[in-house]
């Protein structure tokens, strides 16, 4: 026994190295499955506040771009209100608002930390549980899909960016409703990949890709991007589509966090159906 202790004492450098590596990998694996300790992540109080200060300073330098973006969004919204339409036919039609039930609600938030160049990128938002944000809510901008909230603290939330190896978004080609999956294979924050579109579908460069709404996280029809290129990889029986993302992930400022008010009901129903 004493020899064993002596041996460990003599090679303590090596054993300490192994011990610290085990600790690190334990952290990595824990992180990988998203049971991240509430204490050490960017939704943490200290780091969250540092990011917020940094982002406040940075924001001043982006005010011009943000204003232009907001003005653009305003114009788009103005275009869509009924007052902007001229009624050309004289048929009588009625709107009954009670027929429509609100399914999605939106919370405005600001990105206070973001990365684009890692294989797995995360986003931190300046709103948290106190503002009504919960895990599994979607994050969008008028330009497109941004990510999904994973961890929430009282004042901040941490989200997986679309630029993350574990992100998959159910998407469709707008013109013919063919269903596929959007994921990110790394390399560049301007492009993503869309898989599982069968080869008989007629594609064209520039076709619009939007969310399908099947995941219950994002509403149907949220813009994702346009087709930049497509091919059938050797051995595959579906298209691999290169998608040019509409959102500039390197320039995220204000985003909307979207809640599906019927998410739980839909998921319960579908699990019940699949268990039979």
């Amino acid at each position: 026994m004493r020899n064993l202790f002596n041996f460990i004492a003599r090679h303590y450098f090596f054993f300490l190295f192994i011990f610290l590596q085990v600790v690190s990998f334990a952290l990595i694996i824990q992180n990988h499955f998203y049971q991240r300790s509430a204490f050490i992540n960017s939704a943490n109080y200290l780091t969250g506040n540092i990011f917020e200060t940094r982002s406040n300073i940075e924001l001043y330098f982006n005010l011009r771009t943000i204003n232009e973006e907001l003005a653009g969004n305003n114009a788009k919204l103005l275009e869509s209100i009924p007052g902007s339409y001229l009624k050309t036919d004289q048929q009588i039609f009625t709107f009954n608002d009670t027929l429509y039930q609100k399914q999605f609600s939106y919370i405005n938030a600001r990105v206070i930390n973001n990365s684009v160049r890692n294989r797995n990128n995360y986003i931190t938002l300046n709103k948290g549980r106190r503002h009504g944000i919960k895990p599994d809510m979607g994050i969008i901008t008028p330009q497109g899909v941004i990510g999904i909230v994973k961890e929430v603290s009282a004042n901040f939330s941490a989200a997986l960016s679309l630029l993350h190896s574990d992100m998959q978004v159910s998407a469709k080609i707008q013109k013919n409703d063919h269903l596929g999956t959007i994921l990110w294979e790394g390399y560049h924050h301007e492009n993503a990949t869309m898989l599982y579109i069968p080869p008989h579908v007629a594609l064209e460069k520039g076709d619009t890709i939007v969310t399908s709404g099947f995941s219950h996280i994002f509403p149907e029809g949220v813009f994702i991007g346009t087709i930049a290129d497509y091919e059938i990889r050797r051995g595959d029986n579906f298209f691999t589509i290169e998608v040019e993302l509409a959102a500039d992930f390197n320039q995220l400022n204000y985003v909307s966090v979207v809640t599906n008010l019927y998410q739980n009901e839909l998921i319960e129903l579908e699990t019940a159906a699949s268990q039979q």
Partner: protein, 173 residues
């Protein structure tokens, strides 16, 4: 000794701050991610105790992890780099007895030695970091390319930072 602890703590805080506030947010196109905080581990004195080296490296990595949502990755890479440091020093040095408290600085060891020392250790650090980040072997060629490019950038930044830091004051040795 007390002064040295303050000096190293100050250095630690400044380098981590530069890393997480500035370098983590600069986009150099594609896959280049420069890192300056390994300089802290590189600059620890030659006669630093083994356990101090490893523990300090672990916490410097962890500090960066806290700000990068990469729990444990930087810690693992830094500990690996610290573990390799004594071996690398032994391999590339002719003379292996050092003055008490002597740091691996340009004025002590010469630019050539420092370049080689920094390159090898930073390469090992980046390699470990990017392999852990990708966690698959089929992306190995991209990882190697990324490691080489990032190592080049980090090397330049680290050498410039060393030049800006000035000389190690002899009174504290």
């Amino acid at each position: 000794m007390d002064l040295n602890i303050f000096k190293h703590t100050g250095r630690f805080l400044i380098l981590i701050a530069i890393q997480v506030v500035i370098l983590n947010h600069i986009y150099f196109g594609g896959y280049i991610t420069p890192h300056i905080y390994p300089l802290f581990i590189l600059l620890l004195p030659f006669d630093v105790k083994g356990w101090v080296l490893l523990v300090v490296a672990f916490f410097s990595g962890l500090a960066v992890d806290m700000f990068s949502d990469s729990m444990g990755m930087h810690a693992a890479a830094s500990v690996f780099m610290a573990f390799m440091r004594p071996t690398v020093i032994r391999l590339i040095s002719i003379k292996t007895d050092f003055d008490q408290g002597e740091e691996p600085r340009i004025e002590n060891k010469g630019l050539g030695w420092i370049l080689l020392y920094t390159f090898i250790l930073v390469f090992l650090h980046h390699m470990a970091l990017f392999i852990i980040e990708v966690f698959r072997l089929d992306e190995l060629p991209q990882v190697l390319l990324r490691t080489l490019l990032s190592t080049g950038f980090s090397l330049v930044i680290i050498i410039v930072a060393q030049l800006l830091m000035g000389k190690q004051s002899k009174s504290r040795i």
